[in-house]
């Protein structure tokens, strides 16, 4: 397993995985806020829910950091919607976070799994 930065791990655990979730979902394709909240809810089997009042501030913060970019998209016969996509910087962060997360999961698996191996 790759060495992981213990400070980074610590920080990620504290911050939670919200950023990772958002970046991962946007990595596939641009999405709007409502779609993101539906996806997180359904894909987690209802375990994770983003309230409207925490989801959007999080998106705005990621945008301020330059990890994602929002843009209004107009479609015929529909109101315009704001879609978010991951920026190059966001991809780099996402890769790093995935690595850290994987390392963490692996570490936990080793600790908890070896007993029954």
């Amino acid at each position: 397993m790759a060495d992981i930065d213990t400070h980074a791990l610590d920080r990620e655990l504290k911050r939670g995985s919200a950023e990772l979730l958002i970046l991962s979902l946007l990595d596939a394709r641009p999405r709007h806020g409502y779609e993101l909240s539906k996806l997180i809810h359904t894909r987690s089997g209802g375990q994770l829910t983003f309230h409207i009042d925490s989801l959007y501030p999080l998106l705005y913060r990621l945008e301020e950091r330059g990890w994602i970019k929002g843009a209004w998209v107009e479609k015929p016969e529909e109101r315009r919607r704001r879609f978010y996509k991951v920026t190059a910087e966001g991809r780099r962060v996402l890769a790093q976070q995935r690595k850290t997360w994987a390392a963490f999961v692996e570490a936990v698996r080793r600790v908890t799994g070896d007993e029954h191996a």
Binding site: G33, I52, D53, P57, R61, R79
Partner: protein, 903 residues
């Protein structure tokens, strides 16, 4: 379809988003809500329910605004030149300031209580310290006051702070010519100055001053000029300089008196100058130039050492060096004037300030007590605010955790909280200045004027104001920062996860809050006990029987031209007709003369009693009185008789003694008919030497040493034996305050050259002399005690109200499980009273140690006075119990369903 935009906009209203950005967010979130609503409708939910469910995604407390607030877009840059580096930091502080004001405005209870609490503490401390500073530490306006010293010739057998402070003219000249430690030495002595004008004579306090006096103090005249070297020369035109107070009271501040001529003690003197208010050298009304000469002492070894000397130490010269310097000179003086120097005498050099502090020592002790009390008050105020801030910190814990999660750095939070703390401290400071200003005005009005040095001008002390402000700012900052520090210490996701279901209160600051409550209660009890003791002592003093009746008595001290009243005959020729005239006045029940002002006894003297031998000295106080003295003062006769007119007329050698005298010197026999000899009388030139006095009567005891002291033996003898009676007393049936004019008329009708000084009622004099200090102390302490009590009530209440609110959920569960209202009430009150009882226990322990500093100021009450301890403890307990009961009652009324639904 509902108007989502309105719901979103309301939630964003408190943020400073740009209009465009706000419109974008409103549009985006409205769309989200709309999507959700349509989905719910599609699933068969009714329109209303769908609207409710969609909006339910917004949580209580406007989480949306809290999350967005830390983002940069919520703080658009101010419209300054791009690239200006400092603008960003300043505008950040500006936003923090606005945010702080908004936050404080939204919690008015907290804000008002904090500001008032701190303001009172700052104000009271500043006012009291200003008094102490101006009265005790720096009463003199002169810059060089630290270098001004006086010297004492000490008898090593006497107590350390005593010794001769008066010198002869020769000693003064020797010091001036031969010492090397001083930049200058001046001398002064008091002199009664009789100022004769058209109607009669007035008495002024004069001081004879030596050349260089005004230069020594470096203070110019307010009008006219000070004395010049030529004014002191013999044969120079006689001049006088007038003090500001006398100028204002006697001449209504009329500047035209300058250059006028006044007849003072028979000499016509030109008034050349009026001094500014703070010049009060030797406490005089007028200063008269005097050049001292050795000839004055030649061949007269007994010239009284009556000159008080003040020296200005050379820079860099210590008091010890000056002592050594003066010791050499005095050793040689002692050979010439052995009667002036005790064996093995030493010279002690002290700062001028010590003379003042010594003179006003009793009041100084009271002031320092009050200062200590105000210190306690400031401590209570600060712990109260600290507590309020800690409570608030806990409430805001979640807010700050959220801010941190959303990217607000710790420095950002700290800055925000510092701004909040500063806003509070500055508001409290403004209130504090106002309180100090108003408080000082009332204090100055309440301070007995005869108990502070004349030069002292009591004004607001800026260094102290700055100090108390510093304390206030530190308190608010330190405890205001607690939430920020808390937020960064804690696992940040915690408060979000448990969403505030604080069953235990959960915050590690709890013990700190409890500790503050305990400390406040303890401090407040200490204050209350102090105030209670002083109050009891004051009441005891007022109730103390002085042994005489001071009501309806007018009294004045006569200032007579001493050269015309040297012999017994001269004095008696004046007093007999004056007393007769006064007795003849309508409404006058009696008139008497004496040598001391009641209740005080006269001078002390050694005595001998015929037929009795004893080891050691026998002492008594003694004074000269006229026959009606005892009747005017209503002093009761215990045995024998008082003086008759014949005793006085014949100047018979008879004496009346008090009960204490009898008990001490004639414990088992009657003193009537016994004979006593007064050692002091040997020095009086006009009495037959070694005269024996026959005791004719015994009177009840009068508090002749003051109210706080044991009775002392006293002997009264006829005033017609000496020329020393100077006090006139008149008992009237009407208000004695109205007698002034009539008495003056009768005195002047007999001799227009005699002046009435300090005329007034005996009751006022006694009230001022005996009770003014204690009254001031107990009034100020009572005010502080009350403020302390209020602060503690607020402290106990706020902590309990908070912890009860935190426990609403727990209380709900308990009540749902069957706990009754009274049980809940008991639980909450019990929790509060535990702290109060702990505080009281500590408070009593602390008080028992601290009250000892009050010991010297208490009369008729012990420092461990059980009634005071019980009463103050009860008062505090009851007040605290009420403070506990209010939140407890609220808790007992909690509806379990509401409490459980709370989240």
């Amino acid at each position: 379809m509902p108007d989502w935009a309105q719901h979103v906009r309301t939630r964003l209203s408190q943020l400073r988003l740009s209009p465009t950005r706000e419109a974008e967010i409103v549009e985006e979130l409205s769309q989200h809500l709309d999507d959700r609503w349509r989905e719910l409708i599609a699933a068969g939910v009714s329109s209303d329910e769908a609207t409710w469910l969609a909006l339910a995604d917004f949580r209580d407390g406007n989480v949306l605004a809290q999350y967005i607030e830390p983002l940069r877009e919520a703080h658009p840059p101010a419209s300054v030149t791009p690239g200006a580096p400092s603008g960003h930091w300043l505008s950040g502080v500006w936003h923090d300031l606005r945010y702080a004001l908004r936050t404080l405005w939204r919690s008015p209870g907290f804000t008002v209580v904090s500001i008032v609490t701190l303001g009172l503490g700052i104000g009271a401390a500043t006012a009291i310290f200003s008094v102490v500073y101006n009265v005790m530490l720096v009463p003199f306006p002169e810059k060089e006051v630290d270098r001004m010293v006086f010297a004492r010739i000490r008898n090593p057998q006497q107590s350390p702070e005593s010794g001769r402070q008066g010198y002869t003219a020769t000693e003064f000249l020797e010091f001036t010519e031969n010492s090397h430690s001083f930049d200058g030495i001046i001398a002064a002595t008091g002199e009664v100055v009789l100022y004769k004008h058209g109607e009669g004579t007035e008495r002024l306090n004069g001081a004879l001053v030596t050349p260089g006096t005004f230069e020594f103090f470096g203070m110019p005249a307010l009008h006219g000029r000070v004395m010049q070297p030529s004014d002191y020369e013999p044969g120079a035109p006689p001049v006088v300089v007038l003090g500001h107070t006398a100028w204002m009271t006697r001449f209504n501040g009329d500047p035209s008196v300058l250059n006028r001529t006044f007849v003072l003690n028979g000499t016509a003197r030109t008034l050349i100058g009026i001094m500014p208010p703070r010049f009060g050298w030797y406490g005089a009304d007028v200063w008269i130039p005097e050049k001292l000469r050795r000839e004055a002492n030649a061949g007269f070894a007994d010239a009284p050492p009556r000159w008080f000397l003040l020296g200005l130490l050379r820079r860099g010269v210590s008091a010890q060096q000056a002592e050594a310097d003066l010791t050499i000179i005095t050793r040689s003086l002692a050979k010439t004037f052995p009667q002036l120097y005790p064996a093995n005498f030493t010279v002690q050099v002290r700062k001028r300030l010590d003379a003042v502090v010594g003179r006003y020592r009793p009041f100084a002790a009271m002031l320092y007590t009050v200062l200590a009390a105000v210190g306690l008050l400031l401590l209570i105020a600060c712990s109260n605010v600290a507590n309020l801030m800690l409570v608030r910190a806990t409430v805001r814990e979640k807010e700050f955790a959220l801010r941190t999660i959303l990217g607000a750095g710790r420095t950002r939070l700290v800055r925000l909280l510092m701004v909040e703390g500063l806003v509070l401290a500055i508001a409290a400071a403004m209130l504090g200045i106002f309180v100090a200003w108003g408080g000082l005005k009332s204090l100055v009005a309440a301070i007995p004027p005869n108990l502070v040095p004349a030069q002292a001008v009591i004004e607001l002390n800026t260094p102290v104001l700055a100090f108390t402000l510093g304390v206030a700012i530190l308190t608010t900052l330190f405890f205001g920062l607690a939430p920020a520090l808390q937020a960064s210490w804690r696992d940040l996701s915690d408060p979000l996860r448990d969403s505030g279901k604080g069953v235990s209160g959960g915050f590690r600051g709890k013990w700190l809050r409890d500790a503050f409550v305990v400390m406040e209660v303890a401090l407040s009890l200490t204050l209350l006990i102090g105030a209670g003791l002083l109050m009891r002592s004051f009441v005891a003093q007022r109730q103390l029987d002085l042994g005489l009746r001071a009501d309806h008595v007018f009294r004045t001290v006569l200032a007579v031209p001493e050269d015309r009243y040297k012999t017994v005959d001269e004095a008696t020729r004046f007093f007999r007709p004056v007393l007769a005239r006064l007795k003849a006045l309508p409404g006058v029940a009696g008139a008497a003369a004496s040598s001391s002002i009641p209740p005080y006894g006269g001078a002390e003297s050694k005595i001998e009693i015929a037929g009795k031998t004893h080891a050691g000295d026998w002492q008594t106080r003694f004074q000269y009185v006229s026959e009606e003295y005892f009747r005017v003062l209503r002093i009761e006769l215990a045995e024998g008789r008082t003086f008759s007119e014949a005793d006085l007329d014949g100047a018979r050698k008879v004496a009346v003694v008090n009960k204490t005298f009898k008990q001490k010197y004639f414990p088992n026999e009657s003193p009537i008919g016994q004979r006593v000899r007064l050692g002091m009388l040997k020095r009086a030139a006009d009495v037959e030497q070694d005269a024996w006095f026959e005791i004719v009567g015994v009177m009840a005891d009068v508090r002749n040493g003051g109210p706080n002291v044991q009775f002392e033996p006293e002997v009264w003898i006829p005033y017609t034996l000496t020329a020393s009676a100077r006090v006139l007393m008149v008992r009237t049936s009407q208000d004695p305050g109205t007698m002034m004019k009539a008495v003056r008329q009768e005195v002047w009708a007999t001799d227009s050259g005699v002046a009435l000084s300090i005329p007034g009622t005996l009751e006022d004099f006694i009230s001022e002399a005996l009770y003014a200090g204690p009254r001031f102390g107990f009034l100020v302490m009572t005010i502080f005690g009350c403020i302390g009590l209020i602060l503690v009530t607020v402290g106990v209440y706020s902590v309990l109200a908070y912890s009860t609110a935190q426990k609403t959920h727990e209380i709900g569960i308990r009540m749902a499980l069957g706990a009754e209202g009274p049980a809940v009430l008991g639980m909450v009150v019990g929790a509060g009273l535990r702290l109060v009882v702990a505080g009281i226990a500590i408070g009593i322990a602390v008080s028992l140690v601290l009250v000892r500093i009050l010991e010297t100021q208490l009369v008729g009450v012990s420092v461990y006075d059980p009634p005071t301890l019980v009463a103050t403890t009860l008062l505090l307990t009851i007040t605290a119990a009420i403070a506990c009961w209010i939140p407890a009652r609220r808790a007992a009324r909690v509806d379990p369903m509401v409490a459980l639904r709370y989240e």
